[in-house]
Every structure is written in C-alpha cells, then in structure tokens.
Symmetry: C2
Subunit: 138 residues, 2 copies
DNA sequence: TGCAACCAGTTGCATTTTACAATTAAACAT
DNA sequence: ATGTTTAATTGTAAAATGCAACTGGTTGCA
C-alpha cells in the first residue's frame, strides 16, 4: 500500500514531480532529445549524478519513463517517455507560458519554449504525436 | 542580482514553485478560499508551521501573494493572490487533469477539482474573474 | 593486444532543508 | 482577570541534496 499525504488531485501530482529536478529531467528528454544518462547530466542546472540516478529510478517506478539497453552500445542505456510521461507536456507548457509572462526569460535560450508556449493546442498535439513515435514501442 | 540555476523558462518557474509545498498553499488560497495562516495550516497534508511561514514569505517576495492586516481582527493577517498568483491557475489545472488520468483520485474529495479539469477554458476564465474580484484591490 | 576514453552509475561525507514539538507575544472574548 | 486564538519562532532530529572522487565494465583506436 502506498502512503500518500492526501488524495487531493493536486497533491498526488506534486508527490511525483513536485521537486526541483524531476521536471528538469522530463524537459531534457521531451524537448532536448536527451536519451542517455550522460546527456541528462549535462544540463545548465548541473544536476549531481547521484540525484539523477535517484530521480530516474523514481520516474521509472512511477511509470513516467522506461529504461532499456541500447542495442548499438552495450554500455549505454536509453531512457524513453511513456504515455504517462508524454502527458506531462501540458503542465510543462503552462509553466513555460507563466514564466514567459513573469520571469526574466532569455529569449535566445528559449526559442523552442516560446514556440511551444505560443503554438496552442495543435502545436502540442503535433509534439505529442512525434514523441509517441520516438518513445513508444508498439 | 539574483542567482538562477539557468534562464530556461521551465527552470525559472520551478525555482519558484517547484517544491512539495508552494502549490499546495496556492491551492488552499485559490480553491479552498483560505486566507489566514491558521486555515492554511489545517490542510490534509499537514504542513508544519515553520515551513508555512517560510513559504508564505517566499511567495510574497516573488510577488505571488500579498499580506495585509485584517481590519476586523488585528491579530489576523489576510493573504491574497496577485495577478501573478492567479495566473498559476492553468498550471494547477493541468496538474489536476494529469492526476485524474493517472493517479488514484478519490472522486468525492475532488469534486471541485474535477469541475475545474473538465470545465475547459470558459470555466478557468470564470474562476480567474472571481479570484480577481476577491483578491485584487483596485 | 594494449590503452585511453567513455558510460552509467556508486560511495563517502559535508551542507542544507525539512519535520516535529514545544513555546511565545500580542490580541481577543468572556 | 483569565483563558483562547493568532501568527509565528525556537530547538533539535531526520532526511534530502550537493560535491568530488571513484568503480567496473565497454568501446574505439593504434
């Protein structure tokens, strides 16, 4: 049996990704095409390798990502999003929209984010479809 | 000068509300009509009073809430959302939508959340308008 | 075959944050 | 006057995070 702080919808979501790193990792996989540990380690925010290990395990446990060996490179591991992970896109998108309105955004650094934020629902659906193609094996 | 981990839009948002408590507090003010310290302390998730104090100060510093003395009760303090705080509604809404799809939601506990999640854009606009009326003095 | 570089972590330890419980000072109600 | 309510504060233990070094295997290349 799992132990939740409460069964409020907002809380249940926050229990999974309500921390400083989880959505940063999802961003890397979702928007920056990162699929390997080493790539995710290289973010501007400088996540520590033990924290990255911990969060990847948690995200896998929660069914948001999957891991598998890279058939081309026996020492590499490929991280993929599940549908549950892909469905975090609307949350990420709204974070971007809010930050564009209120935070000191570097427009150059956030070209792609700006596109997502301004692209509306059709842009999101296009991205989701692309992600399904690249991440879901079925 | 502020010290940001990075100037990525997603990161800048997470630096403000990317933790286990900030959005729980916003939820209390936004959806449960809580305006006093004591009310916010009474959530199901049982936030500790020192953490609540800390987060309220942070949210005020970030311009997401304001505090003012209650004219009716000199020992009470009223917490209000700013427009920046009200604009967190779409993020909260998407968290609710995601949790309804993937987490073990207690439907009874989340009647209001379900309404928000299913209400679409017009529902959100109605809520925003109501919040502006109750929280913004202008 | 030998060797350096690469990969996904792991380990140990210091620092920071959070949790928990008790306490406080001012304001208020009776 | 006295007890209650309010928004906190304080002290301390526990947990999470940050940091740097290290590991055991893999790969590319000479």
């Amino acid at each position: 049996m799992e132990n939740h702080r409460s069964y409020c919808a907002i809380n249940l979501g926050l229990e999974v990704f309500g921390d400083k790193w989880s959505l940063i990792i999802i961003r890397g996989i979702m928007f920056e095409g990162k699929r390997h540990f080493r790539e995710l380690l290289q973010s501007d925010e400088k996540i520590a390798s033990n924290i990255l290990t911990d969060r990847l395990a948690m995200l896998e446990r929660e069914g948001i990502i999957t891991k598998e060996g890279d058939p081309e490179h026996k020492q590499k591991i490929i991280y993929s999003l599940t549908q549950k992970g892909i469905d975090l896109l609307p949350i990420l998108t709204q974070v971007v929209v809010w930050s564009f309105k209120y935070m000191p955004i570097d427009i150059e650094v956030n070209r792609h984010a700006k596109m997502v934020a301004e692209g509306g629902n059709e842009m999101q659906e296009a991205i989701k479809q692309q992600l399904r193609k690249e991440h879901l094996k079925s």
